[in-house]
Symmetry: C2
Subunit: 381 residues, 2 copies
């Protein structure tokens, strides 16, 4: 997608004029006026599951970075990707020789698309190798791991970003604007739900985006939790970026378990509520047991809603003022372009997409789990 | 609305064929094949607020009953209604001389449209006067009051119905069918929300449907509770009639209070969750602080949703199979016709619309309040 086209969206959304007051919005620096002709960042994808394919497409469409290498534990995948994307052999790594990437000047960024529990070790290894890091969400399985990742990247002097593509997607940017600018007055109540039904192994396999034949998302130590970690993070993000506030307290309830043999370690479904300092409440749900993909915000003078809302899109919705139908973009390219520019320009990754943002989400998720386990209100600092 | 037209809707919905297996649906006895020409039931409306106007229109359209009298504390309203509907002077009562209705053979049914706390005393007085009773929802402010009302009607040998108009409304009947017949497989998750914002006195006054200048809905003893009692009962009903099951446990959370001077006795907003024995969960909200009017049901093989969903309609929605757009009817006439036929035919009022149903809802609402107050899971028998 060209900068010109993207700029058109941004103008339509008014993002340029509001960026100063809305820290969560895409800064206007990305509304480039001319195609970029400088050197591209070289990105190695670490983990070659389903979502890596979408990122590879994003890299193909990117102006500011390119797919330069891969890291995978499967030799057959390495060969297939090498051939398809014409990758130099010296840019292909496995999990054992990965640290040798420190000596490879032709890789600038490692993009980690591994199961959750591997985000931490590979972020730290990449940082120690002197590479900038983008890691997929959720950032890690614990807040302590997030802190270790941030420390490692700071120590190594590399940038750390979390794959929060929604911040670079125009429909999400529009609901950020509607909420944060109080286009319909202050939002009082927000519902956000994201769930995918995975009743059978085939469904579950579709969700596995890493060369790991086990159902890692069902293992507490590998996933960090159930659908709340994996999908609920989108609901937490949405509530935060629509309101432009941080939750101060949460309550939560584990949902019923239909497939007890499958959900022995993590929840099948969960509902939770977040209180925000401005007085808004969010009521959310995530599930591996049923499908849902919705967002609804009730404001004093109107409403806005999306469905599909929080998946890969295209997102559609409406507001009390009419239909909300913004043409879809290549979200991965948009995210990669934005993040690459910060790296190229040696500007610090902004707080809404860097490791501190990932840490905030994981702290909230940990509070939600604590609330569900205790039945009580868990306050956040 | 003619019986023929209504029959057309029922045939379209397949209600006749499913009535036997779905106790919550309108029984097929009401799919009359010819206009009714027998004597009409004479109904006195007790309380002349906004909703009494809608009931009066329903009575005008009814085949089986007519508006025959009124009970009101306001002489000017009595005069206006008497003139508008050409009511005989002897069928006009106030709250002091109401018990004299016992000697009036021209009133068969008293329909109570008073503030919640008055449902009990006027139900008991009407029953003791030998009149059948229909009372608006919520049936009463406590389960104990519901029990006393049921006992009084049983003792007097009169019928008792609660104004559950949704059971006679074709869009609601359709979602009952979709849920109970598992048209998209079993429903796993259900969201239901009904809220009206009442930030200023004018808004609040619009909601006062009784000749009482005070904001009775904000008084615990008069309303029995806040939006949960008044609006949440629709969400409780919807979850129950979509699933065809009774909840076994509830959790609940009071929402933030924006208008502390107004909400000193009852909640401004509340969220709550209901667990059902078949394994479904419902996540609901009611509010006087924000607008919401939505229902969403996620089933194994699809979904259905309405918005507007639970107000006065017309109701619109969609399912995973397409648009759900059933022409609206006069809901009050439909309800009144159905209830009148049970009385005329000396058939007991079915369990899904009689006092036992009102009691079930109030017991659930009491459990929801207990859960919100304690923060714990409250189990229902």
């Amino acid at each position: 997608m060209s900068a010109l086209t993207r700029r058109g969206f941004l103008e339509k959304l008014g993002a340029g004029s509001v960026a100063a007051s809305l820290p969560l919005l895409l800064p206007s620096v990305h509304a480039a006026t001319a195609p970029y002709n400088g050197p591209k960042l070289n990105v190695a994808l670490c983990g070659l599951g389903n979502y890596a394919r979408m990122l590879a497409e994003g890299l193909q469409a990117s102006q500011y970075c390119r797919l330069a290498g891969v890291v995978t534990g499967h030799a057959d995948k390495a060969a297939a990707w090498q051939q398809q994307y014409q990758l130099p052999p010296q840019n292909i790594y496995n999990y054992n020789n990965f640290d040798g990437i420190a000596h490879n000047p032709n890789i600038d960024v490692v993009y980690i698309v591994l199961p959750n529990f591997l985000h931490k070790p590979f972020t730290i290894r990449a940082a120690q190798a002197g590479k900038h890091v983008i890691t997929e969400k959720p950032m890690a399985t614990t807040a302590a791991d997030c802190e270790a990742m941030i420390a490692a990247c700071n120590k190594a002097g590399v940038q750390l970003a979390v794959g929060y593509r929604m911040h670079f997607e125009p429909t999400q940017q529009e609901i950020m604007r509607l909420g944060q600018q109080k286009a319909f007055g202050p939002v009082r109540y927000l519902e956000a739900g994201l769930g995918y039904k995975t009743y059978n192994l085939a469904d579950a396999n579709d969700m596995v985006d890493i060369n790991d034949d086990t159902q890692w998302r069902l293992h507490k130590t590998k996933a960090g939790g159930g659908p709340l970690m994996d999908l609920g993070v989108y609901c937490v993000q949405a509530a935060r970026y629509v309101l432009g506030e941080e939750p101060v307290a949460v309550t939560a309830q584990f949902g019923p378990v239909h497939h007890a043999q499958r959900f022995t370690q993590v929840e099948e479904s969960i509902t939770w509520q977040m209180q925000f300092p401005g007085g808004a409440a969010a009521n959310c749900t995530s599930s591996y047991g049923f499908n849902i993909d919705k967002l609804y915000a009730s404001a004093d003078d109107g409403y806005f809603e999306l469905s599909p809302a929080l998946s890969h899109g295209p997102f559609t919705g409406k507001t009390s003022a009419g239909i909300l139908n913004i043409p879809p973009i290549n979200q991965q390219a948009s995210q990669l372009d934005a993040m690459a520019q910060y790296i190229i320009n040696k500007q610090p990754m902004p707080a809404h997409i860097n490791g501190s943002e990932g840490l905030r989400d994981i702290r909230i998720i940990e509070a939600i789990y604590k609330a569900a386990q205790t039945g009580g209100v868990v306050k956040l600092v």
